[in-house]
């Protein structure tokens, strides 16, 4: 007899419909799975066999053929265990499908040998895709259910085991999980990020970080060891605007596909802060693999990617960053698949001024020979530095400032100003598809960045004197736009542009 169950496969973040068909006939016994299954899907046979027997169903000695259609799409991972088992039980007549006339139910889930259901990576993206193609509901593991309930309109039928999944199917959808309240989940997120008030001194760097966050600009902090670069960086998510529901869903999709959602937490409700070690490979950073997986740039989507010891990263990794920094997404092409992951992130890089760390320090002598300095600086290519809008000096804290640690402004106060500046940007950029000044297109820059007469004159002089590239010039204007937004001004004035230029002038060669 023949039976089928709907399911879904993922390629990157994109879901594709998969029909799981099972055919059981009296012939020499065999259990085969066809339809371009990978190793994990082939192993599904053993899990399904054991789960069926251990759930007190019978596994008759017949020829069982399971087809995963369409046959040209590569099927990966263990999430087909449940639909295969259900299709098999339907085909052998041990289970009756209760969905007749009500629209079919899809199924997803990995089976344990005892019939227990295990969670599935990428549930959110799978559920969204099921909903988008009009599937009524889905039977899935209880631990994946909260994620699926984030998709409005999709009926979610959780099951702890194969037996419970069968009960849901026979009832045509029995006990449903209530839809999640996205706003309540976001509102209930406690603010645990470290406070900017802990950072002693560093008035200029603090201001620079505020500007960077307000316009989502990339920033490079340079300073001796122990000055507070890492401390500042870790406090950046705390001064970013709170996540909107749509942003939270986007981030959750990526983290879910990467299998990084913590147990019992269906939603990523804080901005990501990713700080990969400098030994990371370029596929690790931008994503890759035979069936491409998101890299750190995508995991930092709508959050912060912090690269400490910036020049120590592999050249290939740093250069691979250029395209996602420019486009806000990364396309990974492999033999079997080409997928696009979003990567709209704020890059926060930190480095020492030289290998020993004390170049330009007020009290300590730099011990680096000249050729080492050149080598160190040369590791960062011009095109990469060009994409970093703000260069900040984070000098060693003066003794009097160190004692006053704690008296500094809190994250909450800075965040208020950032939110106000972002609101101005969102209102201005409405309809252009971006939400922050850093992501404006050249056309947006011409439209939204009016400079007053003094500012135009200064920009012309700076363009010649600092030998800025056209892109650098555009980025200077974007940063000036953000500074004006922080000040609540609609036209970019001389003071905004000159502050913006100070963040550029600390360039290689100009120090």
């Amino acid at each position: 007899m023949l039976a089928h169950i709907a399911s879904e496969a993922l390629s990157g973040l994109q879901g594709h419909p998969v029909e799981v068909e099972a055919d059981v006939v009296a012939a020499a016994p065999a259990f085969s799975i066809v339809g371009l299954p990978d190793a994990a899907v082939q192993e599904s046979r053993e899990r399904v066999r054991a789960a069926i027997v251990n759930s007190d169903y019978s596994f008759p000695s017949r020829r069982i053929t399971v087809n995963l259609a369409p046959a040209d799409l590569r099927k990966e991972g263990p999430s087909f265990d449940l639909p295969i088992a259900l299709a098999f039980l339907l085909a052998t007549g041990q289970v009756r499908n209760g969905c007749d006339g009500r629209g079919p139910l899809a199924a997803l889930g990995e089976l344990g040998l005892d019939g227990a259901l295990r969670p599935v990576a990428g549930t959110l993206a799978l559920a969204q895709s099921l909903r988008a193609r009009g599937v009524r509901g889905v039977v899935l593991p209880v631990s994946s259910a909260p994620e699926a309930t984030l998709v409005p309109g999709l009926e979610v039928y959780p099951a702890r085991s194969l037996k419970e999944a069968v009960a849901q199917l026979e009832a045509g959808g029995g006990i449903t999980a209530p839809p999640a309240d996205l706003r309540a989940l976001l509102a209930a997120t406690p603010d645990v990020s470290a406070d900017l008030a802990d950072v002693a001194g560093q008035q200029e760097a603090r201001r620079g970080v505020e500007v960077a966050v307000a316009g989502s600009h990339n920033v490079l902090m340079t300073g001796p060891p122990g000055a507070g670069k890492t401390m500042l960086a870790r406090r950046i998510p705390g001064i970013m605007p709170p996540l909107t529901p749509d942003e939270a869903i986007e981030i959750t999709r990526i983290h879910s596909v990467a299998g990084l959602l913590p147990d019992g937490q269906p939603l990523v409700s804080r901005r990501p802060f990713r700080a990969p070690h400098h030994t990371i490979s370029s596929p690790g950073l931008v994503g890759g693999g035979g069936s491409p997986r998101p890299g750190e740039v995508s995991l930092a989507h709508l959050g912060v990617l912090f690269l400490d010891e910036f020049p120590e990263y592999r050249l290939s990794a740093l250069e691979a960053l250029r395209q996602p920094l420019e486009d806000g997404e990364i396309t990974i092409s492999r033999r079997l698949a080409s997928v696009t992951f979003p990567a709209r992130l704020m890059l926060v890089a930190a480095m020492n001024p030289c290998p020993c760390g004390y170049l330009g320090d007020r009290e300590r002598q730099c011990a680096c020979p000249a050729h080492r300095l050149r080598q160190y600086a040369a590791r960062l290519s011009g095109p990469l530095l060009d994409r970093i809008d703000l260069r900040l000096d984070v000098p060693r804290v003066a003794p009097k400032d160190r004692r006053f640690a704690g008296g500094a402004e809190s994250s909450a106060a800075v965040r208020q100003r950032v939110i106000a500046a972002r609101e101005r940007q969102v209102a201005r950029l409405a309809g252009s598809g971006v939400y922050a000044n850093a992501h404006m297109s050249p056309r947006d820059v011409r439209r939204f960045c009016p400079l007053d007469r003094d500012a135009v004159a200064l920009l012309d002089r700076a363009y010649e004197r600092l030998r800025l590239s056209a892109r650098a010039c555009e980025r200077v204007i974007k940063v000036a736009r953000t500074i004006a937004d922080l000040a609540g001004a609609e036209t970019i004035a001389l003071e905004h542009l000159s502050e913006s230029l100070t963040y550029r002038a600390r360039d290689r060669g100009e120090r």
Partner: protein, 99 residues
């Protein structure tokens, strides 16, 4: 009982039996000593493949043999002749086409 020592091509199926809706191809393996393992262990991957292939050939020219049949099995009957009287173990569904 449908056949004993049935020759198919150049191979031989030890027993072909049916009861109710079950058709079974039985491989009988006897050993006089367990020094080299139990008799059922002697039905190795090559032997299993051979029996399965012969069964398919046998069924291929006798489609009517499947009439009224629901389950088809490959069984092993192990005869341990190291003890007296010999021990006989029946292992229903000992293997399938895919191993």
């Amino acid at each position: 009982m449908l056949g004993r020592n049935v020759r198919v091509g150049r191979g031989e199926l030890d027993l072909i039996v049916r009861r109710a809706g079950v058709l079974a191809f039985v491989e009988v393996k006897a050993r006089r000593t367990t020094t080299y393992g139990a008799p059922e262990d002697g039905v190795d991957a090559r032997k299993r493949r051979q029996v399965a292939r012969l069964a398919e050939l046998w069924l291929g020219v006798r489609p009517w043999a499947l009439r009224g049949i629901e389950d088809v099995r490959f069984d092993v009957v192990a005869v341990d002749a190291s003890i007296c009287p010999p021990g006989v173990r029946h292992l229903p569904g000992a293997f399938t086409l895919d191993g």
